[in-house]
């Protein structure tokens, strides 16, 4: 609509501008061209005099030139005095011509423009600068894509590849139950595969708020049976070992994962933190780490904190927000900055979820832990405060969180016990 208004305005302005002299122009006849010639020759004569004064032309040369221009001047002047051929145009004829021209411009100019534009233009099409599309498009696309896929699957639930496409999207959209269901259908119809079982395991893990349940564990194990080097499955199995405090098992699993991962794998930070935790639990020295954040994490959990103060706390260990296989795969191709962003993005999701439903002790512990691993101590402390305010001061949950904070070295024991 705005487009048509602008287009109409442009057309109107242009049409009026062209019509203007037709309606208001001087009616005098054009000066005869010969008059003009006289002026030009006179000007040439003056220039010649100027040149002579400055001495840029020789006197003899100037004389011949003056004679010649003079001759031309006289001829032009004669012509100018003789009456113009044809005589004056009848006034009424001129008026009707002007009217015809005005009418033609007012009607034809817009008509030609709009008809021609109608055949070549795309008036309804908005601009799509890349910056704008990058902001809005993906969400829109994803939602409509999912809707379309769901509609198709309702019509034909035996379309295995449809389920397969949909499953990771559900996972990304935080619809874990749907994701698990979709993976199950995909396995059922398309047969087992490492990615399908891995995805199912991930969905189950996320349903359990990051706890690798037995169902999830068996799914990951199936994935590994099919493809022994399927790293995401290994990651979650190692995570499971950490969560169940099978320290020795966790150590071997994390070590194996780290050694097999590409050097820029996005899960390395978490893996190294998990390994450090497991070693510490075994009483071994923290290993040399390749990135600074795990080093900090390892430092945070250094011997001067009180290891294993409560079994309940420990069960939350290593419960990070699990990246799904697709994201992990994508992340391995990302640049370092993007990868950091992805990890932080996952933490953000968790923080947002906790803001809505703060009644989740394990969730809070995971968030605090994640912040410390990322080296964001301030955020971790803020999260700690938020967590404690989420529960009644003397509740078991509050105590548990305080103890956890002490354990990871975020607050000192006195603070924790002086409540």
């Amino acid at each position: 609509m705005v487009f048509w208004i602008v287009a109409a305005a442009m057309t109107a302005v242009v049409t009026l501008a062209i019509v203007w002299p037709l309606l208001h122009g001087k009616d005098e006849a054009a000066a005869a061209a010969s008059d003009h010639d006289v002026e030009v020759y006179a000007a040439q004569l003056r220039e010649l005099d100027g040149d002579l004064e400055r001495g840029t032309i020789a006197a003899s040369e100037a004389a011949t030139a003056r004679a010649e221009i003079g001759r031309r001047l006289i001829r032009a002047a004669e012509r100018a005095q003789s009456p113009a051929p044809g005589g004056r145009v009848v006034h009424s004829l001129r008026r009707s011509r002007t009217l015809a021209a005005t009418f033609a411009v007012v009607v034809m100019l817009p008509a030609v423009a709009f008809v021609f534009y109608d055949t070549v233009g795309a008036p309804a099409m908005p601009d799509q600068p890349l910056a704008l599309r990058e902001q809005s498009q993906p969400d829109l696309d994803l939602a409509s894509l999912v809707e379309k896929a769901e509609a198709r699957l309702r019509a034909d639930p035996t379309d295995g590849s449809g389920w397969e496409v949909l499953a990771p999207i559900y996972l990304r959209m935080n619809r874990q139950e749907d994701a698990a269901e979709a993976y199950r259908k995909a396995i059922e119809i398309n047969g087992p595969s490492a990615t399908r079982f891995g995805g199912l395991g991930e969905a189950l893990t996320e349903i359990a708020n990051g706890e690798v349940t037995d169902d999830a564990k068996s799914a990951f194990e199936r994935a590994l049976q099919i493809n022994a080097s399927y790293l995401p499955a290994k990651f979650f199995l190692a995570l499971d070992a950490s969560q169940e405090q099978r320290a020795a098992d966790a150590e071997t699993r994390w070590t194996e994962l780290i050694s097999q991962s590409p050097p820029n794998a996005p899960w390395l930070r978490i893996a190294e933190a998990g390994l450090a935790d497991a070693r510490q639990r075994l009483g071994k020295a923290a290993p040399a780490t390749t990135s600074d954040a795990p080093a900090e994490a390892a430092g945070v959990a250094s011997p001067d904190s009180q290891p294993g103060s409560s079994a309940g706390v420990a069960s939350g260990e290593g419960g990070f927000v699990g990246p799904d296989a697709a994201t992990v795969e994508a992340a391995s191709q990302m640049s370092a900055g993007d990868r950091q962003q992805m990890i932080e993005g996952m933490v953000e999701t968790l923080a947002a979820r906790l803001k809505q439903s703060p009644d989740d002790v394990e969730g809070w512990k995971r968030l605090i832990r994640s912040y410390t691993v990322l080296g964001k101590t301030d955020e971790a402390k803020a999260a700690l405060v938020d967590a404690q305010s989420a529960f009644p001061a003397d509740s078991a949950a509050s105590r548990e969180i305080a103890a956890f904070a002490v354990e990871i070295g975020l607050s000192t024991g006195e603070e924790a016990t002086s409540r």
Binding site: I18, P21, A31, M108, L130
Partner: protein, 660 residues
């Protein structure tokens, strides 16, 4: 919405141009002031509208709006911002839009500055301009619309052809188009005169500054293009007699002739009919240049549109305009009033000599460019006409002309004194002789041709300045008076001298490079050295460097002479992943007026060493510096108060009165 507004503005400008083609001309025939007035407003309006369209296309490119087909095909979000802007005219559609923008710009200039032109002449000129504008707007909208949309829009574009992602190519087309299109003014004036059946006294006075302006831009544009080809293609050549280069060179030659004949017409009212014909030919060659580049009829490094429908469309435009103009010329030329008489030995005679040789040279280039095309159409046989042909034809034609250049300004109008002129050129002749003997001695008599080339160059250099010095009369009046007399000379005298001097400078560069260039092609591994022209180049290292939208393999060379390191040269091959293309970034070290030029080739099979091509190009930069002299000379002439663009004839009367 911006894109579509631009699109609409373009369509609207076509509608405006249609009326501009008809109304002023009807007005001029009927002596109706009101109808003639519409031309002025329509011309300005068309320029504003096309300006809006162009701005919209620039916006779409800058914001990477890939819903525009043209942006999708030629841009990429990773492309540097500078090339997002300049990429607008780096492709066929956008460059055509720039072409009409400049055409409309010149039209509006005539409309605005032409207040003191005879009304009928102005009205006719604007109408003829509008014919050209209409034809090209139709061409754009029907065959190469830059606002074609894509739905759904792709997320990423295909990127601009990497060899076009260069600052040289960013400036080259606008300059070239300002030149090409500028000649359209001379063309419109010529057609208007033919339609009117009479040539006003103001005609030449008006045509000359426009031609001069166009010529300045074309000179710089060609020079820029030549330098771009020199450093970007990595072949070390500065002129390839490539059809597209010829396409811009022919209007330049014809335009140069036009400049000179318009001078005769202005001063002496002679050569009128010839000047009209030359104006038509010059713009026809500009159109032909556009045609040759756009249709892809001739294979060439530059042709970026290969589309037969476009070719047919432009062919039609060519036939209508060139054919129509020539028919009109044949019908009306005889009714035009002839000009004054002059002796063969006179300024006019010299300028006719100039015109004769320049048009002959243009003809040889034209034959060389079109002959393969015609032969293929007639016999099916395919040939290629290259440098040897032009060396054999264009060169000999130019030699007498260049020899005559210093004489021209020294001859008087109407009747000249050849002996007197020759006497004043003793000093220049001495310079030429010294150069001849010097080069012969230096080369031990092996390079006779080179020696004559140098002699001719020095003859031109000294000869072009002779006029200034003899008119200032330093020897007779002493330095002080001489200097004041020199400053008092009209600027057009400086313009002539500078432009002719520039020709000498360019010639010096050409002769020097073609006779004393040295070249080494060798394989080098890091650490290896090569000797050329007294310099030692050491290949220091080769490394990978990432660029914004390419990966560069960069080789670093250090230049030494007798131990001390003089400079480092970096040269690279850039790989553009989006287009899967490689470009060569030649490494150039400028030393004085000479250059060392290094380009990388392919690595050897074992990947340890790489083919390196090194040139020593003595005085090569003079080729382009000379063109700058020519352009500056043109600007001086343009600044001459008698030729100032748009300086109205009528207001000059007041100025003259105030001056006395």
């Amino acid at each position: 919405m911006i894109v579509e507004i631009g699109h609409f503005a373009l369509v609207l400008s076509l509608s405006v141009a249609l009326f501009q083609s008809v109304l002023p001309m009807v007005g001029a025939r009927k002596g109706d002031q009101r109808l003639m007035e519409t031309g002025t407003i329509a011309a300005t309006g068309a320029f504003v509208l096309i300006g809006i369209a162009f701005a919209a296309l620039v916006t779409a490119n800058v914001t990477s709006d890939f819903s525009v087909l043209n942006v999708f095909e030629n841009s990429n979000s990773a492309k540097p911002m500078l090339y997002k802007v300049t990429g607008v005219w780096g492709n066929h559609e956008g460059s055509m839009l720039l072409w009409v923008l400049i055409l409309a710009f010149f039209g509006s200039l005539v409309a605005l500055f032409g207040r003191d032109l005879p009304a009928t002449l102005k009205a006719n000129v604007l109408a003829v301009q509008a014919w050209i504008l209409t034809a090209f707007l139709l061409f754009i909208l029907l065959t190469s619309n830059p606002f074609q949309r894509l739905d759904p829009a792709p997320m990423e574009g295909q990127d601009l052809n990497p060899i076009l992602q260069d600052i040289g190519l960013a400036i080259h087309p606008p300059l070239l188009y300002l030149g090409y299109v500028g000649f359209s003014i001379a063309f419109s004036f010529a057609i208007a005169a033919l339609i009117d059946g009479r040539i006003d006294a103001a005609w030449a006075r008006w045509v000359r500054p426009w031609t001069l302006l166009a010529w300045i831009f074309l000179t710089l544009g060609i020079s820029m293009g030549s330098y771009w080809a020199y450093y970007e293609l990595g072949w070390g050549g500065w002129w390839f007699w490539d059809p597209v280069e010829n396409a811009s060179f022919m209007p330049w030659l014809a335009g140069t002739a036009l400049l000179h004949s318009a001078l005769v017409m202005e001063k002496r009212s002679a050569l009128k009919i010839w000047t009209i014909l030359l104006a038509i030919l010059t713009f026809s060659l500009s159109l032909l240049g556009t045609f040759l580049v756009r249709s892809g009829v001739l294979t060439s490094v530059h042709a970026f549109a290969t589309d037969p429908t476009r070719g047919v469309f432009i062919l039609a435009i060519l036939c209508i305009f060139i054919g129509g103009a020539l028919v009109l010329f044949a019908l009306r030329a005889s009714s035009l009033e002839g000009g004054g008489l002059f002796a063969p030995i006179s300024r006019e005679g010299a300028l006719v000599f100039n015109n004769l040789f320049l048009t002959t040279a243009t003809a040889t280039v034209l034959v060389g460019t079109l002959y393969p095309l015609v032969l293929e159409v007639l016999t099916g046989e395919k040939i290629s006409v290259g440098e040897p042909f032009f060396n054999l034809t264009f060169g000999p034609v130019m030699v007498p002309l260049l020899f005559a250049v210093p004489f021209g300004p020294l001859l008087g109008w109407k009747r000249g004194d050849l002996l007197g002129a020759a006497q004043r050129l003793y000093f220049a002749a001495g310079c030429a002789l010294a150069a001849l003997v010097g080069i012969l001695a230096y080369t031990g008599g092996t390079k006779v041709l080179a020696a004559f080339g140098f002699a001719l160059a020095f003859w031109l250099l000294a000869g072009s300045l002779t006029d200034l010095f003899s008119r200032a009369a330093f020897l007779r009046t002493g330095w002080r008076t001489g200097l004041s007399r020199l400053i008092g000379l009209p600027r057009s005298a400086f313009g002539t001298a500078l432009a002719h001097f520039g020709v000498g400078v360019t010639l010096l560069g050409i002769v020097s490079v073609s006779s004393f260039e040295k070249e080494v092609i060798t394989t080098m591994a890091p650490g290896a050295s090569a000797d050329i022209a007294g310099y030692t180049l050491t290949f220091d290292r080769v490394e990978q460097r990432p660029g914004p939208n390419f990966e560069a393999q960069t080789g670093t060379f250090s230049v030494r002479q007798g131990g001390g390191e003089l400079a480092r040269i970096e040269t690279s091959k850039r790989f553009f992943p989006v287009r899967q293309m490689t470009t060569t970034e030649s490494g150039i070290w400028t030393h004085g007026f000479s250059q060392l030029y290094v380009s990388l080739g392919d690595p050897s099979p074992d990947n340890r060493s790489i083919v390196v091509r090194i040139w020593w190009k003595p005085l090569i930069t003079l080729i382009w510096i000379g063109t700058v002299f020519m352009a500056v000379g043109g600007a001086f002439s343009l600044a001459d108060r008698r030729l100032r663009v748009g300086a109205p004839v009528r207001s000059r009367r007041k100025a003259a009165l105030a001056g006395t």
